[in-house]
Subunit: 95 residues, 4 copies
């Protein structure tokens, strides 16, 4: 299981970005993945790295389709190879 | 209100880092701030930028006090000046 | 042109990571892209987003092939759609 | 020596940010630190963590003084405790 942190933000469309962030979230909802958004980013869980990159590309392209002139996309991947970590098991481990 | 995303990880102490992440969380608990940890980072809310930097420095120093040889600390600050955004209001805006 | 910032680091292999970072750089050298490493990350320029994701996946997989148990990969993409920005033009603009 | 990667960007001031990034760089120039900007961020070297946070706060406040409504500041700290790493020694190690 791959756990990742994703943030996609448009530049040059004003101070409030929530309308645009919603488009990213709607795109993620259509995928067969588990994700949860917090105030700063969205934590995504995917089966493998191929699925993750495919999903991130779709989300980035969804932001592009809004017609914005610049996009900042940030992705942090935690690829745990020695055991099957999930977002839930990671949170449980620090409690 | 300042909303920030914080991650503090030691390098060179093995594959599992949860024992060390707990130390950061214990440090945050002693502060007069609101925070919530997810699988990839901790979202912090502070009154002002001074408080945020003071808290992050304390958390980084708590990691140092464990005797680790290297620390990677990552901080992303969302400083909304035109209105009083909170972690909760940001999440509500994207739902 | 897509400009991106990439960092791929193994976890659990000791304090010094340069031996592993070299593997990422060797992988990037085999690609038809322009890139430059600094002390904290590697700045990459690619023609399009597909090429970028393909290159990042290759670099991540090169790190996996070393046999490490955990990898933290960080990618920040600056996708400027309204004009053809390059790493060089961005640096020139702030001088 | 602390090595860090800093990025400070205003939100809601249009697509081009170079005018604002220059203000951050001018602020850094007044400090007794070594730094170098690339196309995605600025790599900073400071003697200790206190100096780093003081400098980052000054740079963030310089961005605030421009009157922008929202600022995204990103800081990644590489705190190597077991040896005196510099930006130059880190780059040399991966060549």
């Amino acid at each position: 299981m791959i756990i990742a942190q994703l943030s996609i933000a448009p530049v040059g469309v004003g101070t409030s970005l929530s309308k645009y962030v919603k488009i990213v979230i709607e795109t993620l909802k259509k995928e067969q993945i588990h994700f949860e958004s917090n105030a700063m980013a969205t934590v995504i869980e995917t089966e493998d790295i191929e699925t993750l990159f495919a999903v991130v590309k779709k989300a980035h392209m969804a932001m592009r389709s809004t017609g914005v002139n610049r996009i900042i996309t940030e992705l942090k991947i935690d690829d745990r190879i020695d055991k099957n970590a999930t977002a839930q098991s990671k949170i449980k481990a620090i409690q």
